[in-house]
Protein backbone atom coordinates (compact mmCIF):
# COMPACT_ATOMS: atom_id res chain seq x y z
CA UNK A 1 0.00 0.00 0.00
CA UNK A 2 1.58 3.30 -1.04
CA UNK A 3 0.93 6.72 0.44
CA UNK A 4 -1.69 7.67 -2.16
CA UNK A 5 -3.90 4.64 -1.54
CA UNK A 6 -3.48 5.15 2.18
CA UNK A 7 -4.58 8.75 1.82
CA UNK A 8 -7.55 7.77 -0.32
CA UNK A 9 -8.49 5.09 2.19
CA UNK A 10 -8.24 7.62 5.01
CA UNK A 11 -10.39 10.10 3.13
CA UNK A 12 -12.94 7.39 2.37
CA UNK A 13 -12.98 6.36 6.01
CA UNK A 14 -13.41 9.99 7.01
CA UNK A 15 -16.34 10.36 4.67
CA UNK A 16 -17.87 7.12 5.89
CA UNK A 17 -17.67 8.42 9.45
CA UNK A 18 -19.16 11.72 8.42
CA UNK A 19 -21.98 9.92 6.63
CA UNK A 20 -22.77 7.76 9.61
CA UNK A 21 -22.85 10.68 12.02
CA UNK A 22 -24.96 12.62 9.53
CA UNK A 23 -27.78 10.19 10.25
CA UNK A 24 -27.80 11.18 13.85
CA UNK A 25 -27.83 14.86 12.97
CA UNK A 26 -30.73 17.16 13.54
CA UNK A 27 -33.33 17.45 10.83
CA UNK A 28 -34.92 20.80 10.06
CA UNK A 29 -38.19 21.62 8.37
CA UNK A 30 -39.54 25.17 8.55
CA UNK A 31 -39.19 26.32 12.15
CA UNK A 32 -39.14 22.76 13.43
CA UNK A 33 -35.94 20.93 14.33
CA UNK A 34 -36.01 17.24 15.19
CA UNK A 35 -33.21 16.08 17.45
CA UNK A 36 -32.16 12.51 18.09
CA UNK A 37 -34.92 10.40 16.56
CA UNK A 38 -34.56 6.92 18.06
CA UNK A 39 -36.40 3.68 18.60
CA UNK A 40 -35.97 1.73 21.77
CA UNK A 41 -34.97 -1.85 21.07
CA UNK A 42 -37.98 -3.76 22.36
CA UNK A 43 -38.11 -7.01 24.25
CA UNK A 44 -38.55 -9.55 21.39
CA UNK A 45 -42.22 -9.85 20.54
CA UNK A 46 -43.15 -6.71 22.46
CA UNK A 47 -44.30 -3.44 20.97
CA UNK A 48 -41.59 -0.93 20.16
CA UNK A 49 -41.78 2.82 20.66
CA UNK A 50 -40.03 5.68 18.89
CA UNK A 51 -38.85 8.94 20.42
CA UNK A 52 -37.38 12.29 19.39
CA UNK A 53 -36.94 15.78 20.70
CA UNK A 54 -38.88 18.35 18.68
CA UNK A 55 -38.00 22.01 18.86
CA UNK A 56 -40.13 24.83 17.49
CA UNK A 57 -38.03 27.96 17.02
CA UNK A 58 -40.83 29.75 15.17
CA UNK A 59 -43.41 32.25 16.36
CA UNK A 60 -46.35 30.01 15.54
CA UNK A 61 -47.56 26.90 17.33
CA UNK A 62 -47.32 23.72 15.32
CA UNK A 63 -48.62 20.20 15.74
CA UNK A 64 -47.07 16.84 15.01
CA UNK A 65 -49.98 15.28 13.17
CA UNK A 66 -48.74 12.03 11.79
CA UNK A 67 -45.80 9.69 11.93
CA UNK A 68 -44.91 6.99 9.46
CA UNK A 69 -42.20 4.44 10.13
CA UNK A 70 -40.87 1.96 7.59
CA UNK A 71 -41.87 -1.61 8.31
CA UNK A 72 -44.60 -0.57 10.72
CA UNK A 73 -48.30 -0.75 9.82
CA UNK A 74 -49.45 1.84 12.33
CA UNK A 75 -47.44 4.51 14.13
CA UNK A 76 -49.52 6.27 16.75
CA UNK A 77 -48.68 9.28 18.87
CA UNK A 78 -49.34 8.37 22.49
CA UNK A 79 -49.11 10.01 25.84
CA UNK A 80 -48.16 7.84 28.79
CA UNK A 81 -48.37 8.98 32.36
CA UNK A 82 -48.60 7.62 35.84
CA UNK A 83 -51.69 8.62 37.74
CA UNK A 84 -51.00 7.44 41.24
CA UNK A 85 -50.38 3.71 40.87
CA UNK A 86 -52.00 3.50 37.47
CA UNK A 87 -50.24 3.67 34.12
CA UNK A 88 -52.43 5.53 31.67
CA UNK A 89 -51.91 5.65 27.97
CA UNK A 90 -53.82 7.78 25.52
CA UNK A 91 -53.60 8.19 21.80
CA UNK A 92 -53.24 11.84 20.83
CA UNK A 93 -55.75 11.68 18.00
CA UNK A 94 -55.40 15.39 17.17
CA UNK A 95 -51.65 15.21 17.23
CA UNK A 96 -49.00 16.48 19.63
CA UNK A 97 -48.82 20.24 20.11
CA UNK A 98 -45.37 21.78 19.59
CA UNK A 99 -45.88 25.33 20.91
CA UNK A 100 -43.95 28.27 19.49
CA UNK A 101 -40.53 28.65 21.08
CA UNK A 102 -40.86 25.38 22.99
CA UNK A 103 -39.18 21.99 22.87
CA UNK A 104 -41.26 18.87 23.32
CA UNK A 105 -39.51 15.69 24.27
CA UNK A 106 -40.84 12.31 23.24
CA UNK A 107 -39.20 9.98 25.71
CA UNK A 108 -39.78 6.83 27.74
CA UNK A 109 -42.62 7.19 30.26
CA UNK A 110 -43.99 10.21 28.43
CA UNK A 111 -44.99 11.08 24.88
CA UNK A 112 -44.00 8.36 22.45
CA UNK A 113 -44.77 6.94 19.04
CA UNK A 114 -46.12 3.46 19.41
CA UNK A 115 -45.13 1.17 16.56
CA UNK A 116 -48.00 -1.21 16.02
CA UNK A 117 -47.85 -4.29 13.81
CA UNK A 118 -44.19 -4.06 12.92
CA UNK A 119 -42.93 -6.42 10.24
CA UNK A 120 -39.35 -5.84 11.33
CA UNK A 121 -37.59 -6.60 14.59
CA UNK A 122 -35.73 -3.58 15.84
CA UNK A 123 -32.16 -4.35 16.81
CA UNK A 124 -29.71 -1.88 18.32
CA UNK A 125 -27.66 -0.12 15.67
CA UNK A 126 -30.31 -0.57 12.99
CA UNK A 127 -31.49 2.43 11.06
CA UNK A 128 -35.18 2.90 10.35
CA UNK A 129 -36.58 5.46 7.97
CA UNK A 130 -39.66 7.45 8.77
CA UNK A 131 -41.63 10.63 8.19
CA UNK A 132 -42.95 13.22 10.59
CA UNK A 133 -45.83 15.36 9.32
CA UNK A 134 -46.48 18.70 10.97
CA UNK A 135 -49.58 20.84 10.50
CA UNK A 136 -47.60 23.92 9.47
CA UNK A 137 -44.03 22.85 8.76
CA UNK A 138 -45.20 19.94 6.58
CA UNK A 139 -43.62 16.54 6.11
CA UNK A 140 -40.00 15.69 6.76
CA UNK A 141 -38.08 12.45 6.33
CA UNK A 142 -36.09 11.28 9.29
CA UNK A 143 -33.97 8.33 10.22
CA UNK A 144 -34.40 6.65 13.57
CA UNK A 145 -31.56 4.78 15.15
CA UNK A 146 -32.42 1.74 17.24
CA UNK A 147 -30.86 1.98 20.69
CA UNK A 148 -31.05 -0.14 23.79
CA UNK A 149 -32.10 2.97 25.67
CA UNK A 150 -30.68 2.29 29.08
CA UNK A 151 -29.32 -0.30 31.44
CA UNK A 152 -32.20 -2.19 32.97
CA UNK A 153 -31.45 -1.27 36.57
CA UNK A 154 -31.00 2.21 37.82
CA UNK A 155 -30.99 3.93 34.46
CA UNK A 156 -34.72 4.48 34.38
CA UNK A 157 -34.57 7.68 36.37
CA UNK A 158 -32.34 9.37 33.85
CA UNK A 159 -34.69 8.72 31.02
CA UNK A 160 -37.31 11.10 32.14
CA UNK A 161 -39.21 10.09 35.22
CA UNK A 162 -39.55 13.78 35.88
CA UNK A 163 -42.93 14.21 34.34
CA UNK A 164 -44.32 17.58 33.55
Amino acid sequence: MNITTKTIAAICLGFAMLMSTANAQDVKVGSITIHHPWIKQPVPGAVAAAYATIENTGKEDDTLLKVAVEGVAIAQIHDMKMQGDVMKMDELKDGLAIPAGKTVELKPNSFHIMLIKATTTFKAGQEVKGTFTFAKAGAVDISFEVETGKPAMGGMKMNGMKMN
Binding site: V43, A46, V86, M87, M89, N109, I116, M153, M156
Partner: protein
Protein backbone atom coordinates in the same frame (compact mmCIF):
# COMPACT_ATOMS: atom_id res chain seq x y z
CA UNK B 1 -80.86 24.43 76.06
CA UNK B 2 -78.88 26.54 73.65
CA UNK B 3 -75.72 25.04 75.15
CA UNK B 4 -76.88 21.46 74.56
CA UNK B 5 -77.69 22.34 70.99
CA UNK B 6 -74.29 23.85 70.28
CA UNK B 7 -72.59 20.96 72.05
CA UNK B 8 -74.56 18.57 69.86
CA UNK B 9 -73.54 20.56 66.79
CA UNK B 10 -69.90 20.45 67.84
CA UNK B 11 -70.06 16.70 68.43
CA UNK B 12 -71.63 16.10 65.02
CA UNK B 13 -68.95 18.23 63.42
CA UNK B 14 -66.30 16.09 65.13
CA UNK B 15 -68.02 12.93 63.88
CA UNK B 16 -68.19 14.29 60.33
CA UNK B 17 -64.52 15.29 60.46
CA UNK B 18 -63.50 11.86 61.72
CA UNK B 19 -65.49 10.22 58.93
CA UNK B 20 -63.87 12.49 56.37
CA UNK B 21 -60.37 11.78 57.68
CA UNK B 22 -61.07 8.06 57.74
CA UNK B 23 -62.46 8.14 54.19
CA UNK B 24 -59.46 10.12 52.98
CA UNK B 25 -56.99 7.76 54.60
CA UNK B 26 -58.87 4.73 53.32
CA UNK B 27 -59.21 5.85 49.72
CA UNK B 28 -55.99 7.78 49.22
CA UNK B 29 -53.57 5.42 50.88
CA UNK B 30 -54.10 2.65 48.34
CA UNK B 31 -52.06 -0.47 48.81
CA UNK B 32 -49.84 1.04 51.49
CA UNK B 33 -52.57 0.63 54.07
CA UNK B 34 -53.03 -2.99 53.19
CA UNK B 35 -49.56 -4.14 54.14
CA UNK B 36 -49.63 -6.91 56.71
CA UNK B 37 -53.35 -7.28 56.23
CA UNK B 38 -55.00 -10.12 54.41
CA UNK B 39 -54.63 -8.79 50.92
CA UNK B 40 -55.95 -10.53 47.87
CA UNK B 41 -57.79 -13.82 47.76
CA UNK B 42 -57.02 -17.38 46.69
CA UNK B 43 -56.70 -17.92 42.95
CA UNK B 44 -56.03 -20.71 40.53
CA UNK B 45 -54.92 -19.52 37.10
CA UNK B 46 -53.55 -20.99 33.91
CA UNK B 47 -49.76 -20.65 33.82
CA UNK B 48 -47.04 -20.26 31.18
CA UNK B 49 -45.21 -23.15 32.84
CA UNK B 50 -48.12 -25.42 31.89
CA UNK B 51 -51.07 -26.33 34.06
CA UNK B 52 -52.36 -24.01 36.73
CA UNK B 53 -50.85 -22.05 39.56
CA UNK B 54 -52.81 -22.45 42.77
CA UNK B 55 -52.18 -19.66 45.26
CA UNK B 56 -52.52 -22.18 48.08
CA UNK B 57 -49.30 -23.81 46.87
CA UNK B 58 -47.31 -20.57 47.01
CA UNK B 59 -46.76 -20.42 50.73
CA UNK B 60 -43.24 -21.33 51.82
CA UNK B 61 -41.36 -18.87 49.65
CA UNK B 62 -41.84 -15.15 48.99
CA UNK B 63 -43.40 -14.17 45.72
CA UNK B 64 -44.47 -11.13 43.75
CA UNK B 65 -47.48 -10.27 41.63
CA UNK B 66 -47.60 -7.75 38.81
CA UNK B 67 -50.46 -7.09 36.41
CA UNK B 68 -49.89 -5.95 32.83
CA UNK B 69 -50.13 -6.92 29.18
CA UNK B 70 -47.72 -7.90 26.45
CA UNK B 71 -48.66 -5.03 24.09
CA UNK B 72 -47.37 -2.62 26.72
CA UNK B 73 -44.44 -0.61 25.36
CA UNK B 74 -42.99 0.73 28.56
CA UNK B 75 -44.13 -0.17 32.06
CA UNK B 76 -44.42 -3.93 31.69
CA UNK B 77 -41.19 -4.74 29.84
CA UNK B 78 -39.30 -2.26 32.04
CA UNK B 79 -40.65 -3.80 35.24
CA UNK B 80 -40.02 -7.37 34.12
CA UNK B 81 -36.55 -6.50 32.82
CA UNK B 82 -35.65 -4.67 36.02
CA UNK B 83 -36.91 -7.59 38.08
CA UNK B 84 -34.91 -10.06 35.97
CA UNK B 85 -31.76 -8.05 36.68
CA UNK B 86 -32.67 -7.60 40.35
CA UNK B 87 -33.25 -11.34 40.85
CA UNK B 88 -29.81 -12.13 39.44
CA UNK B 89 -28.26 -9.46 41.62
CA UNK B 90 -30.00 -10.79 44.73
CA UNK B 91 -28.39 -14.17 44.17
CA UNK B 92 -28.95 -17.18 46.41
CA UNK B 93 -31.64 -15.72 48.71
CA UNK B 94 -33.86 -15.14 45.66
CA UNK B 95 -33.49 -18.71 44.44
CA UNK B 96 -37.05 -19.71 45.23
CA UNK B 97 -38.67 -16.34 44.63
CA UNK B 98 -41.25 -16.20 41.87
CA UNK B 99 -42.84 -13.27 40.17
CA UNK B 100 -46.24 -13.78 38.61
CA UNK B 101 -47.09 -11.59 35.65
CA UNK B 102 -50.87 -11.66 35.29
CA UNK B 103 -52.23 -10.38 32.01
CA UNK B 104 -55.08 -7.88 32.08
CA UNK B 105 -55.52 -8.47 28.36
CA UNK B 106 -56.46 -12.17 28.01
CA UNK B 107 -58.12 -11.46 24.64
CA UNK B 108 -54.74 -10.90 23.00
CA UNK B 109 -52.46 -12.55 25.54
CA UNK B 110 -53.16 -16.17 24.79
CA UNK B 111 -51.06 -18.99 26.22
CA UNK B 112 -48.70 -18.91 23.21
CA UNK B 113 -48.31 -15.12 23.21
CA UNK B 114 -47.60 -15.10 26.95
CA UNK B 115 -45.12 -18.00 26.75
CA UNK B 116 -43.17 -16.22 23.99
CA UNK B 117 -43.15 -12.96 25.91
CA UNK B 118 -42.20 -14.45 29.27
CA UNK B 119 -39.28 -16.34 27.71
CA UNK B 120 -37.50 -12.95 27.42
CA UNK B 121 -37.18 -12.68 31.17
CA UNK B 122 -35.74 -14.51 34.16
CA UNK B 123 -37.22 -18.03 34.44
CA UNK B 124 -38.49 -17.15 37.93
CA UNK B 125 -40.98 -14.87 36.21
CA UNK B 126 -44.11 -16.83 35.38
CA UNK B 127 -47.04 -15.65 33.28
CA UNK B 128 -50.60 -16.23 34.41
CA UNK B 129 -53.52 -16.12 31.99
CA UNK B 130 -56.94 -15.62 33.55
CA UNK B 131 -60.19 -15.97 31.64
CA UNK B 132 -62.30 -12.79 31.44
CA UNK B 133 -64.28 -13.84 34.50
CA UNK B 134 -61.20 -14.88 36.44
CA UNK B 135 -59.56 -11.57 35.57
CA UNK B 136 -62.49 -9.60 36.93
CA UNK B 137 -62.30 -11.49 40.20
CA UNK B 138 -58.52 -11.47 40.66
CA UNK B 139 -58.29 -7.77 39.72
CA UNK B 140 -61.00 -6.94 42.22
CA UNK B 141 -59.37 -9.06 44.93
CA UNK B 142 -55.97 -7.43 44.41
CA UNK B 143 -57.30 -3.87 43.94
CA UNK B 144 -56.12 -3.70 40.33
CA UNK B 145 -57.45 -1.09 37.98
CA UNK B 146 -57.50 -1.99 34.29
CA UNK B 147 -59.32 -0.48 31.38
CA UNK B 148 -59.29 -0.88 27.63
CA UNK B 149 -58.62 2.38 25.78
CA UNK B 150 -59.63 2.36 22.11
CA UNK B 151 -57.14 3.60 19.49
CA UNK B 152 -57.89 5.02 16.05
CA UNK B 153 -56.75 1.88 14.21
CA UNK B 154 -59.61 -0.08 15.77
CA UNK B 155 -57.24 -1.60 18.30
CA UNK B 156 -56.78 -0.72 21.93
CA UNK B 157 -54.25 -0.24 24.65
CA UNK B 158 -54.68 -0.85 28.37
CA UNK B 159 -54.49 1.42 31.38
CA UNK B 160 -53.54 -0.58 34.42
CA UNK B 161 -52.19 -0.47 37.95
CA UNK B 162 -48.41 -0.63 37.72
CA UNK B 163 -47.67 -1.59 41.32
CA UNK B 164 -45.78 -4.78 42.01
CA UNK B 165 -47.00 -6.59 45.14
CA UNK B 166 -44.58 -8.52 47.32
CA UNK B 167 -45.82 -11.36 49.47
CA UNK B 168 -43.95 -13.14 52.22
CA UNK B 169 -43.57 -16.89 52.64
CA UNK B 170 -46.71 -16.73 54.79
CA UNK B 171 -48.71 -15.40 51.83
CA UNK B 172 -49.24 -12.00 53.45
CA UNK B 173 -48.59 -8.74 51.62
CA UNK B 174 -45.23 -7.41 52.84
CA UNK B 175 -44.59 -4.43 50.59
CA UNK B 176 -45.14 -2.96 47.15
CA UNK B 177 -42.81 -1.65 44.47
CA UNK B 178 -44.03 1.43 42.66
CA UNK B 179 -43.15 1.96 39.02
CA UNK B 180 -41.52 5.33 39.63
CA UNK B 181 -39.94 4.32 42.89
CA UNK B 182 -36.20 4.65 43.39
CA UNK B 183 -34.32 1.49 42.37
CA UNK B 184 -32.16 1.42 45.47
CA UNK B 185 -35.25 1.56 47.62
CA UNK B 186 -36.77 -1.27 45.62
CA UNK B 187 -33.68 -3.40 46.17
CA UNK B 188 -33.82 -2.69 49.91
CA UNK B 189 -37.43 -3.85 49.99
CA UNK B 190 -36.62 -7.00 48.03
CA UNK B 191 -33.68 -7.82 50.30
CA UNK B 192 -35.85 -7.32 53.36
CA UNK B 193 -38.55 -9.55 51.91
CA UNK B 194 -36.08 -12.33 51.12
CA UNK B 195 -34.48 -12.07 54.56
CA UNK B 196 -37.92 -13.01 55.90
Amino acid sequence: MANTKSLRMTLWTVVALCAAIFAYAYFSGGAKNLIGADFGAPFKLSSTTGGEVDSASLKGAPYGMFFGFTHCPEVCPTTLNDMSVALKELGEPAKNFRLFFITVDPDRDTQDVMCDYISNFDPRIVGLIPTDNELQKVAHDFHIYYKKVATSDGGYTMDHTATLFLFGADGKLKSTLGYDEDKTEQMTKLKKLLAG
